[in-house]
């Protein structure tokens, strides 16, 4: 990462007695895709809207591209693109004019027609926006966020409600933004989206950051992994347990389906292979299961991500 695009320190925002953000600190790299992951109501939108300058925090600091969104909004606004979760479109305007309108606010906008084509909106470009489907409106919002060629974009749940094909197109566009050097901050409650797009994931829950790091770091850190294989049923596991480092457990969870639980390193795999070889057994379907972000999330918060 070349530098820091977003720096948030001890951010607190209360709505009445409820703290939407309860001391959030995080950073996002310049030119990277950072996913803010969390269940509904975790504080994702509040966090992003403070960064965009829509809301003011109670306490704490925010720096977006070195600027304070609350006090230096006028300088920040041309640099960032914003995709709201909903709204922001005149219902009577047509997608083409809406995009051309927003393009006219910027010095070097993208070609609106090319953007409409790219996002599959060309055939509805002349239809009043109120008649667009949810997914079409979502794609128009995405187009509005990037038409001004911003240095940094904030995408609040960019693919919620999209069909698989449109989601794929949105993902490709986000990857291309990254490749072309645009910093992307996106909120999501889709794990696949975070795992696939993000250089860095920040997991928040109940207004607090519970973990942050590269997806691989998060899924590996403190991992209690499993090794699984298939062999003929009824093997005596006593010898295997003795050969493995202490703390490892070997079980036959169903006939012919063996599981070794514990820290799975190369030595453990070798021990399992040797033990099988000594018995003339070829382990089938041998795999080492790493944790998913979903497991990490569940472990850290005790909650399902998609609640």
């Amino acid at each position: 990462m070349a530098g820091v695009a977003l720096e948030v320190t001890d951010l607190v925002k209360r709505y009445g007695p409820r703290a939407a953000l309860d001391g959030v600190s995080l950073s996002a790299g310049l030119g990277a895709v950072t996913a803010i992951l969390g269940p509904n109501g975790a504080g994702k939108t509040t966090l992003v809207e403070i960064c965009e300058g829509f809301r003011r925090q109670d306490t704490g600091q925010v720096r977006v591209l070195g600027l304070d969104p609350g006090r230096e909004g006028r300088r920040l606004r041309p640099l960032i693109g914003v995709m709201l979760q909903q709204g922001g479109i005149y219902p009577a305007a047509r997608p083409r004019e809406m995009l051309e309108l927003v393009a006219a606010y910027y010095a070097n906008p993208l070609d609106p027609a090319a953007l409409l084509r790219r996002l599959g909106l060309l055939e509805v470009a002349g239809v009043p926006c109120r008649r667009l489907s949810g997914g079409q409106r979502q794609r128009l919002s995405l187009a509005l966020a990037i038409v001004g060629r911003p240095a940094m974009v904030f995408l609040d749940e960019p693919t919620t409600g999209l069909d698989p094909q449109a989601r794929q197109a949105a993902w490709e566009l986000i990857s291309e933004l990254r490749r072309d050097g645009v910093t992307v901050i996106l909120t999501t409650h889709y794990l696949e989206e975070a795992e696939r797009l993000a250089d860095r994931v920040v997991i928040i829950d109940r207004g607090r950051v519970v973990a942050q790091g590269a997806p691989a770091e998060l899924t590996e850190a403190g991992a209690r992994r499993r090794l699984e294989f298939r062999a003929r049923p009824g093997l005596d596991l006593a010898g295997l347990a003795a050969a493995l480092p202490s703390g490892h457990v070997a079980r036959e969870v169903s006939p012919g389906h063996y599981v070794v639980e514990g820290e799975i390193g190369p030595r453990v795999v070798a021990e399992v292979a040797t033990w099988c070889a000594d018995r003339g057994v070829l382990p089938g379907d041998l795999r080492i299961e790493s944790r998913s972000l979903e497991d990490v999330f569940l472990e850290l918060t005790g909650r399902e991500l998609r609640s």
Partner: protein, 253 residues
């Protein structure tokens, strides 16, 4: 050097004039596309002008000359107050104020664009009503400059009050209230019937209304000519009052 992709950052604002002009053009198109708005801003003033010019129900000598200033006042009110309040209420509901206020256009650019569009609609209204009046036998006289000054001050007064209403109520309630006020002011504000014909109890308060100051002033300016100072002052007071209260109560989202 590495080839830069099409999406590579090239941030920056367009010049302020271009931003506001684009906004004004959009707002103007949206207003002219809105059927209910056109009914209010054009159809009703034209209908009032034609019907009461042709039907001999008014006790004045030159009916068209009496009615034209009234319907111009009505037209200004319909655009600056009624239309503005309704559009603003729904723009907020749809998140447009929030969204566009956070672009390089900014909140001041948004307000400027809306104001320019409003003046554009008013120009169309005045020209159309003037042509209809000419067709009905009206001969222009009086002070055009005075009339324009009154229209500008009236626009300022009504748009402040419209924004105040939109700031206080939800979108649907704004719609209902703005239409109700339009109807009441149409009757008591000297648009069709002279305020002097109103019952004494209604007449006092009616004379203080911005619509009365506007129609009364326009009648003076387009009649004997000159500057109706009292009406101008009244409109200026309303403009200051409306703008002050609106900026204190306005909500962007």
């Amino acid at each position: 050097m590495e080839a830069r992709g099409v999406l590579a950052p090239a941030p920056g604002s367009a010049p302020a004039l271009r931003r506001v002009a684009a906004q004004a053009a959009m707002e103007l198109r949206l207003q002219l596309r809105n059927g209910e708005q056109l009914l209010l801003t054009l159809a009703i003033p034209i209908l009032v002008l034609v019907v009461f010019s042709v039907a001999p129900v008014l006790g004045v000598r030159d009916r068209v000359a009496f009615l034209l200033p009234g319907v111009i006042g009505l037209a200004v009110m319909s655009t600056a107050f009624t239309g503005q309040a309704i559009a603003t209420g729904f723009d907020r509901r749809h998140g447009v104020l929030k969204r566009l206020g956070a672009t390089p256009l900014g909140r001041s650019g948004l307000i400027l664009g809306k104001t320019a569009a409003m003046l554009g609609v008013e120009a169309i209204q005045v020209v159309v009503l003037g042509l209809v009046a000419l067709g009905l036998g009206w001969r222009p006289h009086g002070s055009v400059a005075g009339a324009l000054l009154l229209i500008l001050l009236g626009t300022a007064a009504f748009s402040g009050l419209g924004l105040l209403l939109a700031g206080l109520l939800r979108a649907e309630a704004t719609l209902a209230a703005a239409n109700l006020v339009y109807l009441v002011l149409l009757v008591v504000g000297g648009v069709v019937f002279p305020v002097s014909d109103l019952p004494a109890a209604v007449r006092g308060p009616a004379e203080l209304l911005p619509i009365t100051a506007l129609t009364d002033g326009l009648r003076a300016a387009l009649g004997e000519g000159g500057l109706p100072v009292r009406d101008l002052v009244e409109l200026a007071v309303w403009a200051v009052l409306g703008a002050g209260l609106a900026s204190a109560t306005f909500r962007w989202e």
